[in-house]
Symmetry: C2
Subunit: 221 residues, 2 copies
DNA sequence: ATTATCTATAGATCTATAGATAATGC
DNA sequence: ATTATCTATAGATCTATAGATAATGC
């Protein structure tokens, strides 16, 4: 019977990886609660490992939380890649990624809260939505599709800020229709990038793949 | 000789107000450093008051920091009001407020860092830029000037997120021309709200009042 | 034999208060 | 006489490590 956790060489390494993952997962639950000061003992209890074990893996709480944020962004990035794998048009790739990210605040509230409590680090991170949006913006500029963009960093700034602020809005207004709010903002952003009004609306009205299928297993690689 | 700090009744009250202000100011310096965990003793040392005094004014560090963020936003809001007092057009009021806020990241880096480290609280706060932008958006909708806006909360979401993300960008890229970056984003946002391209550009090219005059005294009421 | 993990704990750090002091009110 | 502030400190809490234990490697 094959082991689940990674394909690393021996059992000792796999156990170590599992312990590390448990610590990261525990950190994410505290992050989701906005409790950035949780005592290390509480974190290790949540991870169900001994206190001393923490220091085998991390030097400080700050370091653990940093890794935990990166890991969450990474997982989200992988999900976006999976879902947009078939698409060619940068405008559509961007639109789908943004629309799905907005919906995620309802479908996966834990990840959502981790992102909201991670402050602005998502904006400059090499993981997650930001680098993908950057790639799509540059592709769209080259193809002439995003004619209104002169500086991709500035476009990315408005987009990244919108992702965060949208998350906050949906968190503050639990009864608001997340899909509708997200799609409207996506439309605004597409127009801002240079798409004609009608086309922006059309792209945001297209059907989306079923997210729940992808979210079935929480531990998606 | 009249006292400076407020016009409150007696000297005891004024001294108390000064102590409280010193604590808030000290909290803001730690906030600017991103040190949300500074021991209360260090905060009181920075404020140059005894440790016990802290508990005469606040119940917890969290409460102090909350007040410190509100105070910073409040001061910024008052500055914006002062500067835009003469203007009538909601589009121009909004544009000036946004353009000045962007420039503030260079002119007043301490306030800038306080805002960036305050997380997303600026987005939903009743103080600072957000309520003013909300007011301007609704005025612009009524006058038909912001024809593209259907839901003011969504417009405010993109705008608020952009404020924060712009601050982060300018912080990460110290050599970038803040005025230029800010004006371009303002232009994008005005177009998003429904202004014609040419008019958005024109409004963002107008001269701004001299901010340094207003920033002369840091303790502007 | 090696390596990860565990438990127990010394020492550092921090919070919150008690009681003393200093300043102002009346 | 009242009120804000101060200093000193008890007790709580937390970090980081030392040394023991358990599991795997070879």
């Amino acid at each position: 019977m094959p082991e689940r956790t990674g394909g690393t060489a021996n059992r000792t390494e796999r156990r170590k990886a599992r312990t590390r993952a448990a610590l990261i997962r525990a950190a994410q639950t505290f992050l989701a609660e906005g409790n950035l000061n949780a005592p290390i003992l509480e974190i290790t209890r949540t991870a169900d490992v001994g206190l001393g074990t923490f220091y085998n893996h991390f030097d400080s709480r700050e370091q653990l939380f940093e890794v935990a944020i990166e890991e969450a962004l990474d997982r989200h990035g992988a999900l976006l890649d999976e879902i947009t794998a078939e698409l060619q048009d940068p405008a559509e790739i961007f639109a789908q990624a943004f629309r799905l990210t907005g919906r995620l605040h309802r479908l996966h509230p834990d990840l959502s809260k981790v992102l909201l409590n991670s402050g602005l680090s998502l904006l400059a991170s090499e993981k997650g939505l930001a680098p993908r949006a950057h790639r799509d913006i540059e592709a769209g500029m080259r193809s002439g599709r995003f004619g209104a963009v002169r500086d991709p960093d500035l476009a990315l700034t408005v987009i990244g800020g919108s992702v965060l602020a949208l998350g906050r809005l949906l968190h503050d207004q639990p009864e608001r229709d997340a899909a509708d709010a997200t799609d409207r903002i996506t439309e605004d952003l597409l127009r801002m990038l240079g798409l004609p009004t009608a086309e922006a609306a059309e792209i945001c009205a297209r059907p989306l793949p079923d997210l729940t299928a992808f979210l079935g297993d929480d531990k998606a690689a």
